[in-house]
Amino acid sequence: MSQLAYVAPSSPEEAATALAATGARPLSGGTDLLVQLRAGRVKPDVIVDLKRVAGAIGIREEAGGYVIGGATSGAVLGEHVGLVRAWPGVVEGANLIGSTQVQGRASLAGNLCNASPAADGVPALIAARATCVIVGPNGRREAPVEAIATGPGQTSLSPGEFILEFRLPPRPARASDAYLRLIPRTEMDIAVAGVGVNLVLDAQGRVAQAHVALGAVAPTALLVAEAGAALVGGRLDEASLAAMEAAARAACRPISDKRGTANYRTRIAGVLARRAALIAFARAGGQL
């Protein structure tokens, strides 16, 4: 019978060393890993619990922006008043993962590194232009969130590397974000499509910066620069919204499966992009 070891290192360096071993798997909230273990889809030799690593759990402000520990649970994110005020879209994406019980464990780093194309925590982080602080056997590096997943279940992390924390940029006034997904039910489901939109308005209430990221419509979540660009300079008038929707749809490369056809996913991505943009705009204080 195979043996399964469990370690819970307290320093990032020890964690990186443990993770570099053959057959090691990181455990953050475990809401994907435990399901995969029970289903026999993964058979690790050692589980490296990252929750006790210094800095892995918690939310702090630094240089005008927020730093979120990679293993911080969705429930903790949802209860952080300042974070919710600055990044409501990031938090609502994270809070859509699983049930109330799962929220007590599920983490953004786990959601990102599980590398599901439909991960609800990811598009809003990408639209937020968040970066990851990655710790590995060769030290620390920083990379944008969209650089982590390379395909379903695949990441760009080297052996031993893990995400210690996320860094969200400083938030100017008149800025907000939103995340929307479509599922056939109202909860406990996997996104057919998901869209994060992050807007910064200028003093006149026009869109100064816009970032649009799509989930579940390609092998990885997508940052669609053309979709964001279509919104810049306006107040979400119909023409710019239509252009943004078209750009979002043009970027979609989905598969057809039991959760939705390619055509349906593409169409819904546009609908959700429009709706998320309108929500983010209103949250940022924009007037249509």
């Binding site: 019978m1 479509l182 056939p184 039910r185 406990m188 349906y264």
Partner: protein, 762 residues
């Protein structure tokens, strides 16, 4: 909101029946103390696991279990060779008859695997890990055969044949060749050709539904122990311990008396636990290993190898005159049976037109085997499927005629004295009262919002009686125990205790309801067919009445008067003898305390075969809101009215109605078995088999209409199955009203609804 509309009746004053006490099984269930199927353990027990076919249709060329047997910790491996090869024999077990040979072949494949998930071998080992490793070491050589999962494909000539010796029954002459069509059901009245020709309006449509699972929370689980002397013990979660006993005895070739089955608490059944899957296998493993064996299914196994109910293709044609009188109906139903004959198409044929008083109709049903799991009963088996088609067609007729959906149903409604399409003459039914309850409801008059639509549908279920046993024992302190043989899947402990309390004149808290094992109470048919409160309740009341008769007899003896001079009222014997004005009433407590001197313990048992179950009718009203950009459907308001005869415990009756609606809404909107091109189920888990979650549904309002059934002591009718019959059509009719397009194919998932809106816009 919930309300009860009671028909004025000369009923006696009731103190317990009709009230809402806390359920006797409630505390155990909310504290986790209740012992479900997987909670029971025996010293020295092994873990049993099943190896399942990865192919939808394959010949089993050979099974080599040598390596598995050699793995340390493996105590037994069994295959079909360890079970007797049974002859074909029908067994009437409750709601649906079963062929014992098919049952046996479904428990363990012999020669051929007929669906993805079909059991081909089983192991017993010292741990789950060893058992899993042993399964991986069993080498099964398959010859993969062409498969068929869709019902019309299976009916086509040239389709892969599941059973070489299956010849369609129910045809005028035996067919020349075998096919996948097990049976044709046919019923007719009048002359439909003439009636359609004379109709002012005709509607005709093809409808489809997908296979759906009962979705009980508790997976199948059991512990079985085969002793050296051949006596067997089984602990399992099922809808009937006597059913488990019979099927285990038959499948293993044992005497009934060799097997005792103890019922566990049951975490949902909905008809799906009216058969056996694990118990005979666990017994065979126990016999081979000499140890007790515990088996618990995973959810994946539950989806792939148990349930579901049929997917279907249906054609409905209705003709009516301009005033809305339906003059002709033609119904054809094709139902997937799964790997063995026995879809609920027969019941579907019988219920299809049961709400309508029709002079001319034909109903044809086809029971068709497919390479999918053998269907099991699911709450009003067959009726929701056909009601979806017929109620959509009636809705279409109303649209075409510009008629109110209740008015067209009232115009064609069955009444007391109407000869039902399926044969009997209705008596004491409350159908038009239920229609009126919805017509008079606030909901029916409420305005609709943007993108919203309202749908109405009706439904019928027979409800059954049948064989039941109940015992009532009085304790020496005057409290009572009520013992029955029916697992409690719908609040029946509460209703048994309440009916006994009412009859004895005790507070319900002083009555403890128990569900006994097969050696401790007389035979009872399984809990199904909405029969328990009616039939077993009748046995409980009669047993309690025998206890009361004994109490009166004892009081008469004490008072030295005749039993006629003693009345039992309010839990006390009262002396009516004018010659003995000084005799104070004797309580049950006082009489029980003297039982040692008065003839011994006070106890009664009644076994009966209850006749006269009253059929039930439901009328459902559903409002939906459709997202015009995504096709997502939200149920925003729902009211279900139902004739329940007499609600023994109204809150649990309302719960039954709400539960049926919730399951029906899931069936309508998102639930479906999805098979890949190899015939493997793609969504064998709750993530992608989309049952509704709590937040998907609004408060489901209920209206209980009480038209008593005079055959039951308190007027009860079965209530558990009717409420799943109308929702499929009620939801679909509401979506049609919202988007202006008839929706004939379930489920109404967002892409399907969006595509329909696209078609409307051209």
């Amino acid at each position: 909101m919930s309300e009860t509309l009671e028909k004025p009746a000369a009923a006696a004053v009731l103190n317990v029946v009709g009230t809402r006490p806390i359920r006797p099984d409630g505390a155990d269930k909310v504290t986790g103390r209740a012992t479900y199927g997987a909670d029971f353990n025996m010293p020295g027990q092994l873990v049993g696991k099943i190896l399942r076919s990865p192919h939808a249709h394959a010949r089993i060329v050979s099974i080599d279990a040598g390596k598995a047997r050699g793995l340390p910790g493996v105590k037994a491996v069994v295959t079909a060779a360890d079970f007797p090869d049974l002859a074909s024999e029908m067994h009437e077990g409750g709601e649906q008859a079963s062929n014992l040979r098919d049952l046996s072949l479904n428990v363990m494949a012999r020669g051929k695997a007929l669906y993805d998930g079909h059991a081909v071998a089983a192991v017993a080992a010292v741990s789950t890990e060893v058992a899993d490793a042993a399964l991986a070491l069993i080498k099964v050589t398959y010859e993969v055969l062409p498969h068929v999962t869709e019902v019309e494909d299976a009916m086509a000539s040239g389709a892969p044949l599941l059973h070489a010796h299956l010849f369609t029954e129910g045809l005028p002459a035996k067919p020349a060749s075998a096919s996948n069509i097990a049976r044709r059901h046919y019923n007719e009245r009048g002359d439909i050709a003439q009636a359609f020709a004379a109709a002012d309006v005709v509607v005709e449509q093809r409808y489809t539904t997908q296979a759906v699972h009962q979705g009980y929370i508790e997976p199948h689980a059991c512990v079985a122990a085969w002793a050296e002397d051949g006596r067997c013990e089984v602990w399992s979660s099922s809808q009937g311990q006597f059913m488990v006993r019979t099927y285990c005895a038959k499948v293993l070739g044992r005497e009934i008396s060799d097997i005792r089955v103890t019922p566990a608490e049951i975490g949902g059944g909905f008809g799906g636990k009216t058969t056996v899957y694990l118990e005979p296998v666990a017994l065979a493993l126990s016999r081979a290993s000499g140890h007790p064996v515990k088996m618990v299914m995973s959810r994946d196994e539950v989806f792939r190898a148990t349930g579901p109910t049929s997917g279907s293709v249906m054609h409905v044609k209705l003709g009516a005159t301009a005033d809305g009188t339906i003059t002709a109906a033609k119904v054809e139903l094709k139902f997937q049976a799964g790997a063995f004959p026995g879809s609920p198409v027969g019941a579907a044929c019988m219920t299809a037109l049961a709400c309508y008083d029709l002079a001319n109709f034909t109903i044809t049903g086809w029971d068709v085997v497919t390479n999918t799991p053998k269907v099991a009963a699911y709450r009003a088996p067959g009726a929701p499927i056909v009601a979806f088609a017929v109620e959509s067609a009636v809705d279409e007729l109303a649209v075409k005629l510009g008629m109110d959906p209740i008015a067209i149903r009232e115009k064609n409604a069955v009444h007391n004295g109407t000869k039902a399409a399926y044969g009997p003459t209705f008596q004491n039914i409350g159908y038009v009262e239920t229609l009126a309850a919805i017509r008079d409801s606030d909901h029916y008059k409420a305005p609709l919002g943007r993108n919203q639509g309202r749908g109405l549908a009706v439904g019928f279920w027979f409800n059954i009686g049948g064989e039941s046993t109940a015992a009532v024992h009085i304790g020496e302190d005057g409290s009572a125990v009520v013992v029955t043989g029916n697992p409690d899947i719908g609040g029946s402990r509460a209703s048994m205790a309440m009916m006994a309390a009412e009859t004895l004149g005790l507070p319900v808290e002083r009555v403890r309801p128990m569900i006994a094992d097969t050696a401790s109470i007389g035979y009872s048919m399984l809990t199904g067919g909405s029969r328990t409160t009616f039939a077993t309740g009748m046995a409980v009341v009669q047993a309690a009445e025998q206890v009361v008769a004994e109490l009166r007899k004892r009081a008469a003896k004490l008072w030295e008067t005749t039993v006629e001079q003693v009345e039992w009222k309010g839990g006390q014997a009262r002396c009516l003898d004018p010659a003995k004005p000084d005799k104070k009433p004797l309580t049950l407590e006082a009489l029980a305390a003297q039982s040692g001197r008065m003839g011994g313990p006070i106890s009664a048992q009644v076994s009966l075969n209850a006749q006269g179950a009253g059929p039930g009718f439901g009328v459902h009203l559903c409002d939906v809101e459709v997202d015009p950009d995504t096709g997502r459907v939200d149920v925003v308001r729902y009211t279900a009215a139902q004739d329940v005869g007499k609600a023994i415990h109204p809150a649990y009756v309302e719960g039954q109605v709400q539960g049926g609606v919730a399951q029906g809404v899931g069936w309508a909107l998102n639930e479906a078995y999805i098979f890949d091109r190899d015939g493997k189920m793609e969504n064998a888990g709750f993530l992608d088999y989309r049952m509704p979650v709590a937040s998907d549904l609004p408060m489901l309002d209920t209206i209980l209409v009480e038209v008593p059934n005079p055959r039951h002591p308190f007027g009860a009718k079965g209530v558990g199955e009717v409420p799943i019959v109308p929702p499929l059509a009620a939801v679909a009719n509401a979506v049609r009203a919202a988007i202006g397009v008839r929706m004939p194919d379930l489920p109404l998932s967002p892409p399907v609804v969006l595509a329909a809106m696209d078609r409307r816009q051209g």
